[in-house]
Symmetry: C2
């Protein structure tokens, strides 16, 4: 989406960073810029400052034809406001109009998981699939249902909150205020919790890595330990992979998609996560012997998926 | 779908009965015929005999313009075969072609829950909704997702198997061979199981109704007892209603529909079932305070929904 007159920029704004990039018509990223997200205890305009700064830096001297924003929060169905964002100071923020005023070009807005799914549908792992589930595993679980390349948005724009489907009655407490949510058993947070619990019972290289304080264990540490063959780390991955498969089986029973794409930071673990998930999906999916069980594959576009999908929305608003 | 030259007939074939009817263009049923389903231990052609007999009786002297069949089983995505039906002798049966040969008119074929959902979308409780979940509670739970009045069929034609989403890890064994499926906690079977368990602990009119043998308790008995104010029967309904709400909250988190329609035989209990479901939906749905929570309403077309939806498919194949 570059032409002689200007560029289209996609921006992904999450709890920790703002990533902006010029995206061409083939979904390729030609130039990027980053900012640190100011956090949720600042005024909203400070977050908007970071966003506008990253867009300007990515665009450089080129004129802006349009900007797509992928936001880590609930976006209203009209694509005008961020209703609520757990890690940002936005509550009902009329972000689209505010940014159009500041940037002087059309702005489109969508949820980050929807944007990542759209990018995978057009240029990544879900390309050509008639229907696909996108499951985004980061701190928690987000996602989207793709039908003929389009994201199902729902009446509130809140479809795809897969992480808050209850899988264990009376189970682990969740940040959402309820308990037993899927993301409490299969996510970056769950990976770290599993590793901490297992470390108390078995020797692990994590004990050295975290300098003796299990509270200091992080997801990247567990990933590194698993790569070194550490059994605690591998069991922690096997457990979240198993739960990924169980929850996916529920969604496949309901929606019978052609493909399941797993993205987000945790999916970088690849088959260490996906193999136990595939096994659990086959074991727990109803009628598995009488149906084509969908492939469960890793997303292809990595951390740029949200930014690319936001830029796609400028040219092809749904 | 009656005109000077002939009629369109819809047929619903379940485990116990075959119901055929002439359906007009407004979804009205003008003439019906019934047969008893021969069961699953007969040859397939005997079931087809019952089906053809019911169609012929419903049509009477009028020519057949087309026949739509709603089957209680898995129908392939092309609408040609019944792949598997738990209560019928069909396994990969090429029902569409067989019936076209015998009836001498075009035949269309779909799953019964999909047909019921289509009928409710065009002429019943989901009319005008952009998106709706249809949850069909009978012996188990079936259902469908309606998007702009169309049923999501899925890659295998198996979308909507909501009853086999796992809600309790290691829970009640299910006829599907797995355990903890939603329909083990919220269905006609679950209602009867709950009532039997409660009867062992508390006095109940059900003890007289079933002549002392809890094994003889049936769903209609529990309904009658609840209407008389029996506490055991009311608790049995409250429990399946509560689980209806919990499972619905999972689907609403994932799909954010505008409306939830509850049909099937058990839904005849109305608010006795739906009030506890509505309360549980509000309590367990993620972000309920930040969204429009969909209405949960009873289906309108009753036991004729499948037949009507099958007939609709003749005129408007999806």
């Amino acid at each position: 989406m570059t032409d002689a007159d200007g560029v289209v920029v996609g921006v992904d704004i999450g709890g920790t960073k703002v990533l902006a990039g010029v995206v061409d018509g083939g979904g390729r990223v030609t130039r990027t810029a980053r900012r640190t997200t100011p956090g949720r205890r600042v005024v909203a305009s400070q977050v908007e400052d970071a966003l506008v700064g990253a867009v300007a830096e990515a665009a450089g001297e080129r004129a802006l034809l349009g900007v797509g924003v992928a936001a880590a929060g609930f976006v209203d169905p009209a694509g005008e406001r961020v209703m609520f964002a757990p890690h940002l100071p936005w509550q009902g923020e009329p972000l689209r109009d505010l940014l159009e005023d500041r940037l002087g070009c059309p702005v489109v807005l969508d949820n980050d998981a929807n944007c990542a799914a759209r990018a995978e549908a057009h240029h990544g792992a879900a390309r050509g699939a008639r229907s696909a589930l996108m499951i985004t595993m980061g701190t928690g679980i987000g996602g989207a249902l793709l039908l003929d390349g389009r994201v199902l948005r729902g009446q509130n724009g809140m479809a795809g909150e897969f992480g808050h489907m209850q899988v264990v009655p009376g189970g682990q407490e969740c940040e959402c205020g309820r308990s037993g949510c899927w993301e409490q058993y299969s996510s970056g947070n769950a990976l770290v919790r599993n590793a901490r619990a297992l470390m108390a019972e078995q020797p692990s290289v994590l004990t050295d890595m975290c300098a003796g304080g299990p509270d200091r264990v992080t997801g990247p540490m567990v990933t590194a330990a698993a790569e070194q063959g550490d059994l605690v780390a591998r069991q922690a991955f096997a457990s979240i992979g198993e739960w990924l498969g169980v929850g996916t089986a529920n969604l496949v029973a309901a929606l019978d998609p052609q493909l399941v794409v797993v993205g987000g930071g945790v999916s970088a673990a690849g088959d260490r996560l996906l193999d136990p998930a595939r096994a659990a999906l086959r074991r727990t999916l109803v009628g598995a012997a009488h149906r084509v069980v969908p492939d469960l594959v890793a997303a292809r576009l990595g951390p740029e998926a949200g930014m690319i999908g936001a830029a796609l929305l400028v040219a092809r608003p749904q």
